[in-house]
């Protein structure tokens, strides 16, 4: 097993506020790791350090074999970041956004790359429209599509489904699963427990500036006393009802494949 991301003793303070107090984390190549934590736990700070946007005060972080502070240029070649807010150019069309990123990654045939990604993310029809006219889910898909250009081996997704409706959320989940099955390493942050449960091979819980637990879902569940058997009436969740009524889960997922 090779390691795509290795973080040791990482510390970061903003003035008096000690956000990260010695974070240790290892992410295996090709796995999906969910970084779980409440608002303000420091998830975004950690991701920004790993994406070379922020310098740590202490500790080391190695991404794709390169030290983030020593060789940020090499790190940037092996990563891609999808931030909390969709980083798309609203004035440009979806296709132009993709071409822009392909050009900046110095790839041949930016137009071809753009068309292939539009098709893959079910955006071909919308490709010529300004991104400002896209729905939240479409914008997020475009955002992720932009992150995939150049096939970076490591992808950071910072709260990829925050603010999305349930069906857009399922689309993003499917995209992330597809990515990991193709060998991409994914580190995603989330505050939704079910998202971590659904997607992640391993879950790391960030609390008070440290990773307090790190393991598979099964390992984390073992931390609690064994389950007691209770009989409960199976009520559909509101999400089940919503998806059944709008028939969205099946419909849009099918279209995006």
């Amino acid at each position: 097993m090779t390691t795509a991301i290795r973080v040791a003793g990482l510390e970061k303070s903003f003035k008096e506020l000690r956000v990260l107090r010695g974070v240790d984390l290892e992410v295996a190549t090709g796995s999906i790791v969910a970084l779980l934590g409440s608002n303000g736990a420091g998830k975004t700070t950690l991701v920004r350090i790993l994406a070379t946007l922020l310098k740590a005060d202490a500790g080391t972080a190695v991404v794709g074999g390169f030290d983030v502070s020593g060789e940020p240029d090499r790190v940037r070649e092996s990563i891609s970041l999808t931030g909390q807010f969709a980083a798309v150019d609203e004035v440009l069309s979806g296709r132009e956004n993709l071409v822009l990123v392909a050009r900046l990654r110095h790839l041949d045939d930016p137009g071809g790359i753009a068309d292939a990604l539009l098709a893959r993310f079910a955006l071909t029809e919308a490709g010529g429209r300004p991104a400002a006219t896209y729905s939240g889910g479409m914008r997020r898909r475009l955002d992720i599509a932009m992150s995939l250009i150049g096939d970076p081996p490591v992808i950071f997704l910072d709260e990829p489904t925050t603010g999305l409706d349930p069906q857009a959320r399922l689309e993003v989940w499917q995209t992330v699963k597809d990515l990991a099955s193709g060998g991409t390493t994914v580190l995603l942050t989330t505050q939704y427990l079910d998202e971590a449960e659904q997607l992640a091979d391993r879950i790391a819980i960030l609390h008070d500036g440290r990773i307090i637990q790190d393991g598979t879902l099964a390992e984390l569940k073992q931390l609690l006393p064994p389950a007691e058997i209770e009989y409960v009436e199976k009520q559909p969740s509101l999400e089940d009802v919503f998806l059944a009524l709008t028939d969205a889960g099946a419909g849009t997922r099918g279209e995006s494949r």
């Binding site: 994406a51 070379t52 946007l53 922020l54 310098k55 240029d73 940037r76 070649e77 990563i79 891609s80 970041l81 931030g83 909390q84 807010f85 969709a86 980083a87 798309v88 150019d89 609203e90 004035v91 440009l92 132009e96 822009l100 990123v101 050009r103 900046l104 990654r105 110095h106 300004p130 955002d143 932009m146």
Partner: protein
């Protein structure tokens, strides 16, 4: 990575030029106020202003109007830079393997292109209103050079504003004093008509030297020592603004 600096800057400049082409109103708005001022001064105030010479008022006033055009145009540069920083797109660029400075240079070059178009629009209207010049090709090139330097100097000030602003309004507020500065200079009335301290300020502030030089170039007259004063101001402001902007930028991306 620096091998890509020019290519990356070109790609990003193409992006922001596209923004302007999609909303050409920014160029129109930039040109409308100076044109309105030109109409106002020519057809309302102009008759009452005694220049002490036979020179037509529009010929006298145009250099100052062009500086006002540029001073209001650079506000959009600060605005566009601020919007990039607010949205996620700036962080996306910063996390990509591109030349770090290309993001700023793209905005600067776009500002230059947009302002030259606005200036050309204003000169076009001035020609219709009766502006005439006997300037040689060399003199036109000199005017172009001065206006380019002026645009670059003000654009780097705009970059500082865009990088430091906390609100959209704050991003463009810096341009108001710049727009106002030509009014306290030789741009619209001879400075010797002003009371002592005001005249002293007017005679020693950069706009007067720039306006006098440009006016002489348009009139086909010798520029004298004014051009050196103007160039010294322009290069000085450009260098200081550039250094401050780059310093702010470095701090911002680290």
């Amino acid at each position: 990575m620096t091998a890509h600096a020019f290519g990356d800057t070109a790609v990003l400049t193409g992006r922001s030029l596209r923004h302007i082409l999609r909303s050409p109103d920014t160029i129109m708005t930039t040109a409308v106020t100076p044109i309105a001022l030109m109409l106002l001064f020519t057809y309302v105030f102009g008759g009452a202003i005694d220049l002490g010479s036979e020179e037509s008022y529009i010929d006298y006033m145009l250099p100052g109007i062009l500086l006002i055009t540029i001073a209001s145009g650079v506000a959009y540069t600060a605005y566009r830079l601020f919007l990039d920083l607010q949205g996620g797109i700036f962080e996306r660029f910063q996390s990509m393997p591109i030349a770090r400075s290309s993001v700023l240079w793209a905005h600067v070059l776009t500002s230059l292109a947009a302002n030259l178009v606005s200036v050309a629009l204003v000169v076009g209207v001035a020609l219709v209103m009766g502006f005439r010049t006997g300037a040689s090709v060399a003199a036109w090139l000199a005017v172009l050079g001065i206006l380019t330097l002026f645009t670059l100097a003000l654009t780097w000030i705009a970059v500082i504003a865009g990088l430091s602003a906390r609100t959209v309004d704050g991003a463009s507020a810096f341009s108001y004093p710049l727009i106002f500065l030509p009014f306290i200079s030789s741009a619209f009335v001879p400075t010797d008509t002003m009371p002592g301290p005001v005249a002293w300020f007017a005679q020693n502030q950069p706009v007067t030297a720039i306006v006098d030089t440009t006016r002489a170039l348009f009139a086909g007259e010798p520029v004298g020592g004014d051009i050196w004063v103007a160039l010294a101001w322009l290069v000085g402001i450009l260098v200081v603004a550039y250094c401050v902007a780059i310093g702010r930028y470095r701090r911002r991306i680290n």
